[in-house]
Symmetry: C2
Subunit: 186 residues, 2 copies
DNA sequence: CTCCTCATGTAAACAATGTCAACATCCGCC
DNA sequence: GGCGGATGTTGACATTGTTTACATGAGGAG
């Protein structure tokens, strides 16, 4: 029996439940709205229980961001494998769509808060993600480095500007079309 | 006499003093480190005093971000006026250098927190800044819209990636040179 | 000049939050 | 069968943003 009707003293698999509930709250309420007490209540556990699995709220956030980077990497590899002809364009589109589809998670991944205090796990996950990205893009970061960085900057900037609502859609304009158009324009 | 030895009951010009001290603390400690009580203490005033000039901490942050956008606009117009030949490149470089020179202020300007709750003042200041930017870039947003947005995205993304330390400098590499190189690569 | 008003500042309190220490419960291994 | 450590609970503490009631004094009305 996993979760019996009367709440058992031991949750069985907290940590995972915390992370899942945290992800939902994060996307719905934003990083600020994700309080440890609310989270604990949502999972049906006391306020101090999360501390058995995460050293602090920042550690919880870090774990969340790490899963975000893993998911991000997976999406990137998948789309690159699916479009062997022109992986760059496909990856750029996926990059932006990932940001739009996981807005608050994406913001958390690049949160200055988290990297302010050490957080080596986050740094590692980010490095892994971008290393695979670099690897897929093509081997020579020597010669085409500036071009690769420019492409990355453009895609990342587009993601954030769209996320912040800074780039407004025109009447009857399609988001994906706009993304493709901007990415396409060198 | 500006600040007399015995602190007068009325500060004279709080609000301005608050904003200036807040800007210093912001750049030194980050947005999280900017607490209302610390700020009040830094200015030599009680913890509740700021509420006579700002409805909430968010309002204080908003005012700070607004000044940031004004300063940003001024820098942009100045550099555009100074380089009539090729304003685009000069503005791009200034854009990135502004972000690097006012890291936490720049982050605050694009903080999702602030725009989450109305904050029409911030929205207005941002629109004004980007309108002048659009105006300088060139009239036809109709035809060259995608190109303009792509340039904006590239510059903005480069700013954030550099800010977050995501783009690492190589040994003996100059920041400005890297910026110019990336901006130059279409 | 005097007085009175209102903007500005203070003090004390409240609710909420992250966090910790002391205690309770129970899973799994000898 | 019993014991130990992992896991969860309770209660408390410090800190923060914020509000309410009160204090101060600058500056105009008479």
């Amino acid at each position: 029996m996993s979760t019996s009707a009367n709440s058992p003293y031991h949750h069985g698999n907290l940590r995972q439940a915390l992370l899942e509930a945290a992800l939902i709250i994060l996307e719905k309420e934003g990083e600020t709205g994700l309080g440890l007490r609310d989270l604990a209540r949502a999972v049906g556990v006391s306020a101090a229980a999360p501390y058995r699995h995460f050293d602090s709220r920042a550690a919880l956030l870090e774990a969340l961001a790490v899963t975000g980077f893993q998911r991000f990497s997976a999406a990137m590899e998948a789309v690159a494998a699916g479009n062997p002809a022109d992986p760059m364009a496909a990856m750029g589109k996926t990059y932006v769509l990932f940001a739009l589809g996981n807005a608050n998670l994406f913001r958390l991944m690049f949160s200055p808060q988290l990297k302010k205090d050490g957080r080596p796990g986050l740094r590692m996950a980010a490095d892994v993600a971008f290393d695979t990205l670099r690897h897929v893009v093509g081997g020579d970061m020597q010669t085409g480095r500036a071009r690769a960085l420019a492409a990355w900057a453009k895609v990342h900037g587009l993601s954030i500007l769209l996320l912040d609502g800074q780039i407004a859609l025109r009447a009857g304009e399609d988001t994906e079309a706009l993304i493709a158009e901007i990415i396409g324009s060198l």
